[in-house]
Symmetry: C2
Subunit: 358 residues, 2 copies
């Protein structure tokens, strides 16, 4: 029997309750696929600040180091928003984990599920045009981590600065990830940059062109970030894989997520070169609905499926989870936010949706 | 009789033909409001590269220096896209003009006109919710102009970098512009940043908070850029004035423009502290339809109206132009892209729309 160990970091807000459903699904996978997931829960985010004094306690980091993968919930909330930047859950926990484990390759799929088109904020004909995008975002470099970063000077001339920086190596490895993903999808990569203004974008374009030569079966296009935000609205079906730097990927992936109208369905993977990864829902911690048992667990469950696929090579089990999720959606076992206002009384709870997937 | 001198830079693509209609409208204003607009045309952009060897010839720059305002068409096209970055029309002409004249304050209004909701790529209920946003974008600093910018190293470790940089003074003056604008509108400023990651954004937030104290009648909110791209899709009616740095404003203003579905209607103003400004349509040079006489001249005409309002203080004349544009839209005198596919044969030409406004 194969064994895997998972560091479970449920975090804040709806994190714990949706994690519970992902755990149910993993239990079911253990039985059906003769595999064991040894799971250990660790504190992270605002909860860890409150209980341990810091957003990423060393025991949590150590636990992650010893695991085969991290299953992450969500972190943050108004309670911790007034802390200094470096101590806040997002930076102190999430950005530190990304950088510590060199999780450079961030995959964020966004699709409009057939039957759920009405949830999309886009016009009906656009929402029904077959939207299925994978955003591949570089996650450990660019302006998030570039040095120097600082604040200098006095009075009105005091200034702050951040550095956007990319090496060829950093661009190449994420470009390769995008082309590999496109080969398994519809064979098209759209690289997002601002090459008419930024030198980092010029290098980005050069290296992606080089990488493209190794993938003659994949088509490569370039688009400026400003135009990308327009095209995502106007004609999202034109995109297959969107390859983005850290900052542009942050923007593009959120716009793509919103375009689906169903953030509670979107999972993400953040991986390093060894296949180690952190898997988390695309939506936030949603403190306003935390604890009510109405949050959608599907994004967390699909994050677990991505973990099985990418860090554990359990393709059949991952496929089975994804099929079960689609069947659950088709059976109409839906949390409230997926239902039209006048049908909200038919909403299923967080745990009912989890049970149905199981 | 008041006299003003205008440097007319029609540029490439549809620039010249829509400029012709703006000129017609200015002729009509001269008669009706007893004012003279002394206009001189200068080459710019790709056309200037072809005829004078550079995108911004010195005679053009000199002509702009001597004028009260610049009325700009549009520049660029595939023909000049292969030139080195520094020589391309966008950088060599547009960014140089912005920086030379310190045109730090860029106003980009985007609204969904009643009756034209069907053009919006957004869902009908969202498009009909009363969308009227003014993007106030800082235009002469940030990562567009921050130093150092460069490329270093060898082999796979070769890297490129750009610097995002803002001083308090630079942030303050654009924040003031946003609050002033909000006072004349619905009294709300939403400042867009990435303060959970960028030090420039932290300073941005601090200074906007300071400026807000001088405008107790204006409400100030902050939003992260990633969330902003989502909210523009989901609920754009929540926004009044969106205050943005250079890069974030580039992204946000284009998304807002696309949201209206009618780029041919959107004007913009770029001004310095002395009220000198460059006025240009938000859409591009549209080389694919250039010369066909079907381009929408309204964005160019409304850019002229903004010029009258902001650089010449001709409020009545500006109001009159804007009213005439609305009347033209209401009369159904529309270029093809504003009509549903099955009504395209009723389209008016570029010059018919210009005549109707006159
Ligand atoms: C919380 C924040 C630092 C983070 C980011 O900007 O990367 C988030 O927006 C995301 O996309 O994962
Ligand atoms: C052409 C380009 C350099 C420019 C910019 O990024 O500012 C354009 O996109 C704009 O928004 O005016």
């Amino acid at each position: 029997m194969s064994q895997f160990s998972i560091a479970v970091l449920a975090g804040d807000g709806i994190g714990p309750e949706v994690m519970q459903e992902a755990n149910k699904v993993l239990d079911a996978v253990e039985k059906k696929f003769n595999v064991a997931f040894n799971r250990t829960a660790y504190p992270v985010g605002g909860y860890a600040i409150d209980t341990e004094g810091e957003a990423l306690p060393s025991k949590t980091l150590l636990g992650c180091e010893q695991a085969d993968a991290i299953l992450f919930g969500s972190i943050g909330g108004p309670k911790w928003d007034t802390l200094p930047l470096e101590q806040r859950p997002e930076r102190a926990a999430l950005l530190t984990l990304r950088s510590h484990f060199d999780l450079f390759s961030n995959l964020r799929p966004a699709r409009i599920y057939p039957g759920l088109e009405a949830l999309s904020p886009l016009r009906e004909d656009i929402a029904k045009s077959g939207v299925d995008v994978l955003v591949v975002r570089e996650l450990t470099s660019g302006i998030y981590f570039g040095q120097p970063k600082g604040r200098e000077g006095e009075g009105e001339e005091e200034f702050a600065y951040d550095t956007m920086r990319y090496s060829k190596r950093e661009i190449r490895r994420i470009a390769v990830a995008a082309f590999e993903a496109a080969q398994k999808r519809r064979g098209k990569v759209t690289s997002v940059d601002k090459a008419n203004v930024l030198l980092t974008s010029r290098l980005w374009r050069e290296v992606t062109e080089e990488v493209a030569k190794d993938y003659p079966d994949v088509e490569l296009d370039h688009i400026y970030i400003d135009n990308a935000t327009m095209q995502i609205m106007k004609n999202p079906a034109q995109f297959d894989v969107m390859l983005c730097s850290n900052l542009f990927g942050d923007i593009v992936s959120d716009e793509c997520a919103m375009m689906t109208g169903s953030m509670g369905l979107l999972a993400s993977a953040s991986m390093n070169e060894d296949g180690f990864g952190l898997y988390e829902p695309a939506g936030g911690s949603a403190p306003d609905i935390a604890g009510l048992g109405i949050a959608n667990p599907i994004a967390q469950v699909l994050s677990a499926a991505m973990m099985l696929r990418f860090s554990m090579n359990l393709t059949d089990a991952a496929d089975a989870i994804e099929k079960a999720v689609i069947a659950t959606l088709e059976a109409g076992v839906l949390t409230g936010e997926l239902l039209p206002d006048d049908k909200r009384e038919n909403a299923s709870t967080t745990s009912q949706v989890g049970d149905e997937i199981v």
